[in-house]
């Protein structure tokens, strides 16, 4: 070990080779710049003004001694400065001379190469150490000091010195700790020289071992206003203590330990350490040796937990203790964690404390350990006590956390909830949500839901409810609320708007849907579905589907239509929806609904399909065949729906003919005419026998032909059968309609000549009971054809046919009077 050293004093000659204040001597290893900084930091002494100005040698012994620890240029330095009186010390038996004001500063530098700057000693342990000198050196070169020896200072000595003023121990340590954390530096007023050092020793020995060497201090400074470089300095009342108002409390903390009432310590560490001091130096030393880290608040908590000092904690210390509680719990030391929380105040009001309790609660809820519930209860009870004033953005707890609070604690929250004013209900609810109280207990949720229902009109409660609905975990509660609203609405229609409000909300509507889906009672379900439809008309099909089975089971299927409003379904689409809802249940619709649907169909033109086809299709499956086969309108629409005929022309014509044969009160003349028009159109199209066959594609037909035994097929016979049915159904309206259709067809369109030729060929073969179509329908239709068109028809006929064609035209001409075109044709024009 090697410690460089230097003396600074006023002397006749020193390193600057002049008289006055200067370095009297120094170890050669100290650089000039470091020497200058040493003088600036460690040299100087301003004697207290209440001590003799011109002290005798024996009086000098009572002057305060400065032991200062403060690093200079990164080098730890401890110095001792004593007041030596006159400028020039006596030599060779001469008395001292010159003005008063001289001091002697002896500075010792840490061994820069050693791990322990002062050979394992705390700086304060160099108080009265044997190496300190107060006499000038005869040489300007000082040899480095070897291993440093401690002085008179140890914990026992310090506590003995401070026994008369032990009430100040906590306050002094409190100030020093705060100063180490960047708080105001401490100026301690103490006149007793030894006790001044004892105060520093008390602080040094009380600090955690890793902090103690960092304490910068001075056991005396005559100018405390300028002692900026140390966090703790001692002075006397004879020195300048006139700090400005703005400095006190912010830049400097003045502690006059001669006062009777010390300020209350703010740091738990100080309070606990002071209590340990009362147990003796050994107890103190053993306690502070324990591991600690972090801020002084945290270290205080660690010390308190380690030494059983939690009971000394004030409300401001709680956050640090709670931080430790979480750590102990996480490490499996549940007993310690619980012991700490049980000793803490039952009420928490400060925000930091509440956040700490929330963190404890969150951690306890997140684990599965057996004591976790007790810890969670401890935390939760404090949080509940503080409701509804918990700070915002607390640590969120999932309701399905592994550990849930005990029912007793949850009941306290419920009491607080129920006891809150109506306008203040939202806050505890929200806080309960954040703390994971909602959703963690079914019985509790029911009660909470009841409260929400009661205060549903409070905008804050409603908003909270929508927030709850946004989280899957709260689904049950939200449904419970909506169910409550529904029950109220079913019991009293005046409550219905509240339920409507819930259902109309996009966040709550899924809950309503889920709830509605589970309701099997028709009346309730009907209300749900009706409200759904009112809120969103597109929900109607789903509502019908949902309600239909329940209505059928309840025998209330005829009331289904009320979902459409008082007048029931109006449009064809609505009728179809209603029928389809029964169809999906594989259930026939009530006869009344079928009749209403058919009545609706009666108002729709067959020619312009405004949904009639779809409705008739719905009817087909929603009503018994017995009912429908008697219904000409249904049959008419079936014919429309099967256009072109997919069942064979003859069969299709039978359907049509059956409908056409109905009396006018069952099928209006208007629909009758439309149906006849449709049939004539089909009859003209059916002239193309090949074209009429493909109800299936040609490929399908080929497959069918391969599989099935080739059935004899006579298209002409089938056509004839069909036309005969139509004639029987429509009678005199039929030829007219067919004529009209042929006239239009022959006048325009592709293959019109072919149509004419086909009609002539087919109609010529039909029996008379088909209506004499050659004469009644085709003859009027060709009257207005041009000779060229007539020739075109003729050319499509074979030779016998052509001859027959000309004869038929001549016969028509003579019988009915030919048209201008026929006459010209017969004269041979137009070829």
């Amino acid at each position: 070990m090697s410690h460089l050293q230097a003396y600074h004093t006023s002397c006749r000659e020193g390193l600057e080779r002049r008289s006055g204040f200067q370095f009297n001597a120094a170890s050669p290893g100290i650089e000039p710049d470091l020497l200058r900084q040493l003088a600036s930091s460690h040299a100087g002494y301003q004697p207290p003004r209440d001590l003799p100005r011109e002290p005798a040698a024996e009086q000098l012994l009572s002057f305060p001694v400065t032991l200062k620890s403060c690093a200079v240029a990164g080098v730890p330095v401890v110095s001792q400065t004593v007041y030596v009186g006159r400028e020039f010390r006596g030599r060779d038996g001469e008395p001292d001379s010159g003005r008063f004001g001289n001091y002697f500063s002896h500075m010792v530098l840490a061994d820069r190469a050693a791990a322990e700057p002062f050979d394992g000693l705390l700086p304060i342990e160099l108080w009265r150490a044997p190496h300190w000198r107060i006499e000038e050196s005869s040489s300007t070169d000082l040899p480095p000091l070897a291993v440093l020896q401690p002085g008179a200072c140890d914990p026992q000595w310090a506590l003995e010195q401070l026994a008369p003023c032990s009430s100040w121990l906590a306050a002094v340590l409190d100030g020093a700790l705060a100063a180490l954390e960047g708080g105001p530096r401490v100026v301690l007023v103490e006149a007793d020289v030894e006790r001044a050092a004892a105060w520093v020793a008390w602080v040094s020995y009380s600090l955690p071992p890793d902090l103690a060497p960092a304490l910068t201090f001075s056991t005396f400074t005559g100018q405390p206003r300028h002692a900026h470089d140390v966090r703790l300095c001692v002075t006397t009342r004879g020195c300048d203590l006139a700090f400005a108002e703005h400095e006190l409390g912010r830049e400097v903390l003045v502690l006059d330990v001669s006062g009777e009432r010390p300020p209350s310590p703010r740091l738990l560490y100080a309070t606990v350490a002071a209590s340990l001091a009362a147990q003796g130096a050994d107890a103190l030393a053993a306690a502070v040796r324990g591991a600690s880290d972090g801020s002084v608040q945290r270290r205080g908590a660690q010390l308190a937990v380690r030494c059983g000092g939690v009971g000394l904690a004030l409300s401001e210390h709680v956050p640090s203790l709670l931080e430790l509680v979480v750590e102990h719990a996480a490490a499996g030391r549940w007993d310690t964690a619980l012991q700490v929380t049980e000793q803490l105040p039952p009420r928490a009001e400060q925000e930091a404390s509440l956040r700490g309790w929330a963190a404890v609660h969150a951690y306890a809820r997140s684990t599965t350990a057996e004591p976790a519930r007790r810890l969670a209860d401890q935390a939760l009870s404090r949080l509940i006590e503080a409701m509804p004033n918990l700070p915002g953005e607390l640590e969120r707890v999932a309701p399905d956390s592994p550990t849930s609070p005990s029912p007793a604690v949850l009941a306290r929250w419920l009491e607080r909830l129920d006891g809150s004013e109506e306008s203040e209900c939202a806050a505890p609810l929200k806080e309960g949500l954040e703390l994971g109280l909602i959703g963690c207990n079914v019985a509790l949720d029911r009660r909470v839901a009841g409260t929400i229902v009661e205060r549903f009109d409070d905008p804050a409660v409603f908003q909270l409810l929508t927030t709850l609905a946004g989280e899957l975990s709260n689904a049950d509660l939200v449904e419970e609320v909506v169910a409550g609203l529904a029950r109220a609405a079913f019991a009293d229609r005046r409550e219905l708007p509240r339920l409507q409000k819930a259902i109309a909300d996009p966040d709550l509507s899924p809950a309503a849907e889920r709830l509605a889906a589970r309701t099997e009672e028709f009346d309730e379900r009907f209300v749900w579905e009706r409200l759904r439809v009112e809120a969103d008309s597109s929900a109607l099909p789903d509502a019908l589907s949902s309600l239909a089975p329940i209505a059928i089971r309840a025998g209330r299927d005829s009331e289904m239509k009320a979902l459409f409003g008082r007048s029931g379904p109006v449009s064809l689409e609505e009728h179809e929806l209603l029928l389809r809802s029964f169809e999906r249940c594989r259930q026939f619709a009530p006869a009344e609904d079928v009749d209403r649907s058919i009545a609706a169909l009666a108002n729709v033109s067959l020619a312009a399909d405004g949904g009639g086809s779809a409705l008739s299709e719905a009817l087909r499956t929603a009503a018994p065949v017995e009912r429908l086969r008697e219904e000409p309108l249904f049959l008419a629409w079936q014919a429309v729906r099967m256009t072109p005929p997919s069942v064979g022309f003859a069969e299709w014509c039978q359907w049509v003919a059956y409908a056409a044969a109905a009396p006018v009160e069952r099928l209006s003349d208007e629909r009758h005419a439309e149906l006849c028009q449709l049939a004539s159109s089909m009859a003209v199209q059916a002239l193309d026998f090949d074209a009429m066959l493909p109800a299936a594609s040609s490929k399908q037909r080929a497959v069918a032909d391969d599989r099935l035994p080739s059935a004899p097929h006579d298209p002409l016979a089938e056509y004839g059968a069909g036309v005969r049915s139509l004639y029987e159904g429509f009678r005199e309206r039929w030829p007219q309609a067919l004529c009209h259709e042929l006239t239009n067809r022959l006048a325009k369109g592709r293959d019109r000549a072919w149509v004419g030729a086909a009609a002539f060929s087919v109609f010529a073969t039909l029996p008379a009971e088909t209506g004499e179509l050659l004469e009644t329908a085709l003859a009027p239709a060709v009257q207005r054809l041009s000779p060229r068109r007539l020739h075109a028809i003729e050319e499509l006929l074979d030779e016998p046919g052509q001859l027959a064609w000309e004869r038929w035209l001549e016969r028509c001409h003579s019988a009915n009077g030919a048209g201008h075109g026929v006459s010209r044709f017969l004269r041979g024009e137009g070829r």
Binding site: S19, E87, R99, H226, D229, D240, F243
Partner: protein, 361 residues
């Protein structure tokens, strides 16, 4: 209210010779007339966070009195060899300005800050006027940061509308700090920024004077000679202010012989230094010039012509003064007859006159 965080103050650390201390943030405010502290009457300076705080020097960040900017500041640096009597001079000069000169001019002296008040009222005055003892040796600024803090006072001379206010800022220094150029530059940089210089010469440290004295038992030790110190001072002023050779320094220099009571046996009885003065309430320009001329020749005789030649060549305004702060040479650090100052205000009034800071009659 959240206070502004503290931050390292490099300027203040440089002034104090320590690592940058954590201090409040220094904010320079500028009014429409330029930099100003905008201190309003009966209102403290406030930080940006709204808390009451203090004004500081925008350059070195040392504390300034709250209402420092309400008057022109005149900075006087006291330069002299060790034991020349600098601290005694400042202490007694402040006392005289307050108790005699101020009332004579119908004015007053007010100490402006806590440091000044504490030092003057608790240290200097009790020691000199109550205990009738000499002051302790001023410690080097290298080891005593308090030495760097000046004594700040406001001198008001004249009444009513004719009153003139001047903030007098006295920088004291340990003689040791002025003896070498490097120390002078480092520890007493303020000297170069002063508005006026008082070079205090201890006649008892002049060999020619010591030789003529009968009683040499209480003489101080000899130190650097005044000529050397003046040369060092002039060089530093030129360097710091960038004054080229051939151009004079425009800072008034008061070459002041301290302990003039000790010169009574060496100077003639009718020396203007010892003539009585009437309480006129105005600065006696002619009388001051007469004293200066006479002392100029006396100093030339003791220190040689080169001293005066140097003064004339380097400083545009210079005058010689003779003062005695204590009125007698203390014996064993004690004043037998109490403090009896003589002409201590002369250098200060001369400078105020040079700055046109004295009220017109």
């Amino acid at each position: 209210m959240t206070r502004c965080p503290r931050e390292p103050d490099e300027e203040l650390g440089r002034l104090r010779g320590i690592a940058a201390p954590e201090e409040g943030r220094v904010t320079v405010r500028k009014g429409h007339l330029g930099q100003a502290f905008t201190v309003k009457a009966r209102q403290p300076v406030r930080c940006q966070c709204g808390a009451a705080t203090r004004p500081v020097c925008p350059s070195c960040h040392s504390n300034l009195p709250q209402r420092f900017t309400e008057a022109d500041a005149r900075t006087m640096a006291l330069v002299g060899t060790p034991a020349a009597g600098k601290s005694h001079y400042i202490a007694v000069a402040l006392h005289e300005l307050e108790h005699r000169v101020g009332p004579k001019y119908g004015g007053s002296l007010m100490l402006l800050d806590d440091t000044t008040r504490h030092r003057v009222e608790k240290v200097l005055m009790p020691r000199l006027f109550d205990e009738q003892g000499v002051l302790e040796a001023t410690q080097s600024a290298a080891g005593n940061a308090g030495v760097r803090e000046p004594l700040v006072s406001r001198l008001t001379l004249g009444r009513a509308k004719q009153a003139r206010h001047s903030n007098l800022v006295f920088f004291d220094a340990a003689g040791e700090d002025l003896q070498t150029l490097s120390v002078l530059e480092r520890e007493a940089r303020y000297v170069t920024q002063s508005d006026g210089l008082i070079l205090l010469i201890d006649p008892l440290q002049i060999a020619a004077v010591r030789d003529e004295l009968d009683d040499r038992s209480q003489l101080p030790p000899m130190s650097a000679d005044p000529y050397t110190m003046l040369g060092r001072l002039a060089a530093l002023m030129r360097e710091a202010r960038g004054i080229p050779a051939g151009r004079q320094i425009e800072v008034p220099l008061a070459v002041t012989l301290s302990k003039s009571d000790m010169l009574r046996g060496l100077l003639s009885e009718d020396h203007p230094l010892f003539r009585g003065r009437t309480a006129s309430g105005t600065f006696d320009v002619a009388g001051s010039r007469m004293v200066s001329e006479q002392l100029r020749s006396d100093v030339a005789g003791w220190l040689g012509e080169r001293f005066d030649t140097f003064v004339k060549s380097e400083f545009r305004w210079a005058a010689y003064f003779g003062v005695s702060a204590l009125g007698e040479n203390p014996v064993d650090g004690r004043l037998r007859n109490g403090v009896a100052p003589q002409r201590v205000e002369d250098p200060i009034l001369w400078m105020l006159h040079a700055w046109e800071a004295l009220p017109t009659s």
